[in-house]
């Protein structure tokens, strides 16, 4: 199952140990994202979409813990088991192989540093040597072949960990390096269609509008050309027109960079417009995943069906799903949707359905389709 995928999540179980009790946030989540594909992750608020995305990057905040499951990343011909990687290796993946953008961009940018500083930080973390090289070449072209700065850069390339290098670097102003980084930042901002990138680079997050901030964050995420971008409801807080612009941008960038995108949202319209495949989540489980056309035309899981039917259509009555989302502190046994499902059977109350391939590339977790073993 993992061979053709970029990132594969298998049976992920995440629990939060809070004062009020143990929240079983994820109850065996299965996801697969193929290279170059846009996978939409859709579900109601609180169903575990964000927790899933955080888990991929091992960023689940305490009191949460990943209890079970496997997360695989296929990069450079190798398959990495993310959960078993040491801290350093995970940090290499974050921002470089898998990057993430968030819902409220201005909250996720540090308010006391400029845009330039923060994007530059990402660049220097993962592409440092590239910029050191560029700075060295720039200094050579300017004729300063033996300046202190140049020597510091060369040392940083050759012996980055030595104490002498660190001390020298502390005393060096690194102007050329910063200039090279600045050039790249401006280019990145331009590529996300920010007008006047020079000025925006020097701005602080609170000076940006929502749309501009989100573009800047996208620029930051793509700065190191990640294999996959996780977008956690990036347009939910934006105006519809701005949202359309951002979505177009995302599509363009996918074409340019060929990265996969895990697009999390609760807006089915966006899913329909943007994604190649869709995964539907409910109460901590992925209940269905299929190609986008397939899902909209022939949904299998009762929840997906109900969800699609609840989209308001002109002239028709509002159709809602009876009942409410269960509390995850004491979740219902068996299938978590059973008490709201119109096809509820006896087995649904007792046994949790398995996530199996019912049609080609169409997975469902429901007893209606033989989810029990």
């Amino acid at each position: 199952m993992t061979e053709d995928s970029l990132v594969a999540v298998k049976n992920l179980v995440v629990k939060f140990y809070t004062y009020a009790g143990v929240v079983e946030a994820l109850d065996g989540v299965n996801l697969k994202i193929r290279p170059g594909e846009i996978l939409g992750l859709v579900g109601e608020t609180g169903c575990g979409k964000s927790v899933t995305s955080f888990s991929i990057l091992q960023l689940v905040p305490p009191p949460g813990r990943i209890e079970e499951g496997e997360i695989y990343l296929n990069v450079g011909g190798k398959t990495l088991d993310i959960r078993s990687l040491p801290k350093d290796a995970i940090r290499q993946i974050r921002g470089k192989d898998i990057a993430m953008i968030f819902q409220e961009p201005r909250a996720y940018l540090n308010p006391v540093y400029t845009v330039e500083t923060q994007i530059g930080e990402a660049l220097l973390t993962h592409r440092k040597n590239e910029f050191l090289q560029k700075a060295i070449e720039a200094l050579e072209k300017a004729g300063k072949k033996s300046s202190f700065e140049k020597r510091v850069y060369e040392r940083m390339l050759k012996k980055p960990k030595s104490l002498v290098t660190k001390i020298m670097a502390k005393f060096c102003r690194k102007k050329t390096l910063m200039k090279e980084v600045h050039k790249e930042v401006v280019e990145l901002l331009r590529s996300v269609e920010i007008a006047d990138p020079e000025r925006v680079a020097k701005m602080y997050p609170f000076e940006l509008s929502g749309g501009m901030a989100q573009r800047a964050v996208i620029a930051m995420a793509l700065s190191c050309q990640p294999l996959m971008l996780i977008a956690d409801e990036p347009t939910t807080n934006l105006d519809v027109t701005v949202q359309a612009q951002i979505l177009n941008l995302v599509r363009e960038l996918r074409k340019t960079f060929k990265s996969s995108i895990l697009y999390i949202t609760h807006d089915l319209g966006v899913i329909a417009e943007l994604c190649d495949r869709v995964a539907v989540m409910y109460a901590g489980n992925v209940v269905e995943s299929a190609d986008v056309y397939e899902l909209f035309e022939a949904p299998l899981h009762p929840y997906t069906k109900a969800l699609l039917e609840s989209i308001p259509k002109p002239g028709e009555e509002f159709k809602s799903i009876p009942g409410t989302v269960p509390s995850l502190i004491n979740p219902p046994k068996g299938c978590r949707f059973h008490d709201r499902c119109q096809y509820e059977m006896d087995v649904c109350r007792k046994i949790k359905p398995e996530f199996i391939e019912v049609k080609k590339d169409h997975f469902v977790a429901c007893h209606l389709y033989g989810g029990s073993k």
Partner: protein, 348 residues
């Protein structure tokens, strides 16, 4: 406009208003003192003066004029540099202040940075290792420190280190060194009037060391009591910053823990701490009153305490005005630092 200079200019104007307000308040308080008592300042021989004579003197000196008249008269004097005459110390208030402030300065010079840096460091560590040993230890120790009366801690240290171990004598300097300094024939030139620096400037580093030796105990008292507040504020501020979205985003970028904690979280966490530090340092003057009295340091605080006991109005007025002035300056510095750290503030 997010420019720093414009912001500073605005704060300077506010500063003047606050100082005026404070001086008016202090002045109003002193007018509560009955005029006979205030007139005693102008009399050489208090016992042989009858109350009627005192009232006459008071009238002559204009002590019964309406408050606002007196205030403006006093204000114009102050602006010319005349803070009045302090009866109990037999010298102009301005001179008294100039003579004594170096001793206070010597203590604050060491105490303030210690409080700030220890507070920030321990607060950050307590936040990072939340609920760990260092967190609990910091909390308990700082609460205990905050609960101790400064005079009691001072007396305790004085008795142990001075009375029992004979390690250091009370006062700002050893008596023989003090005599040496005051002796005009000794060749000791008081360039800055601050013994700490004068010692070095005169080629007598032993004097400087002696100053430090005498200052250690008062500094310990001040630091112990005041560091608690800073640790607590730093800790809670840091905890908040560590849970903010931008910290998560920084981690998601692949930054290492050290950068995330110290570069991203801490800078945001420092914002309320900077404000508090400023207030703390300015408020040190209050705590110094007690500490200087206990250690006989001869600084401004001790002088003010004695002035208050003697009902010496010009002295108390002068000291209160000075405290307010320093407080406002400290606030200004704090505001500037604040604006430097947090660019959002520059819009205010």
């Amino acid at each position: 406009m997010t420019s720093l200079p414009a912001y500073i200019a605005r704060r300077l104007i506010l500063l003047i208003f606050v100082i005026l307000g404070v001086s008016l308040l202090i002045f109003a308080i002193t007018t509560l003192i009955p005029i006979e008592i205030r007139a005693m300042l102008y009399v050489r021989n208090v016992q042989h003066t009858s109350p009627q004579q005192l009232i006459e003197i008071a009238k002559k000196r204009g002590l019964d004029r309406p408050i606002h008249e007196q205030f403006f008269a006093w204000l114009s004097e102050v602006l010319q540099g005349n803070l009045g005459f302090s009866k109990f110390s037999q010298q102009p208030v301005a001179d008294a202040i100039l003579e004594r402030w170096p001793y206070t300065f010597e203590i604050v010079l060491f105490a303030a940075p210690l409080i700030i840096f220890i507070g920030i460091f321990l607060g950050v560590q307590a936040a990072i290792h939340k609920d760990g040993l260092i967190d609990h230890a910091c909390r308990v120790l700082s609460i205990i420190g905050w609960s101790l009366p400064s005079f009691w801690l001072g007396l305790l240290l004085l008795s142990v280190f001075s009375g029992y171990l004979h390690w250091v004598s009370p006062g700002p300097l050893d008596t023989n060194l003090l005599q040496f300094r005051n002796n005009p024939d000794s060749g000791f030139v008081r360039h800055t009037k601050i013994d700490l620096f004068d010692g070095l400037l005169n080629g007598r580093p032993d004097i400087t060391l002696n100053v430090i030796q005498h200052a250690i105990l008062p500094v310990i008292v001040i630091v112990t009591i005041n560091v608690a507040l800073l640790i607590r504020v730093m800790r809670s501020s840091m905890l908040e910053a560590l849970n903010k979205p931008y910290t998560v985003a920084a981690r998601a970028k692949g930054l290492d823990d050290k950068t995330v904690i110290y570069k991203h979280a801490r800078r945001n966490a420092l914002i309320p701490v900077v404000t508090l530090s400023g207030m703390l340092v300015a408020g040190l003057l209050g705590g110094l009153v007690i500490t200087e009295t206990v250690f006989g340091f001869g600084g401004l605080g001790q002088w003010a305490a004695n002035a208050a006991l003697q009902l010496d109005v010009p002295a108390v007025l002068g000291y209160a005005l000075l405290s307010a002035f320093l407080f406002v300056i400290a606030n200004l510095i704090v505001d500037i630092l604040y604006a430097y750290i947090d660019p959002r503030i520059r819009l205010v």
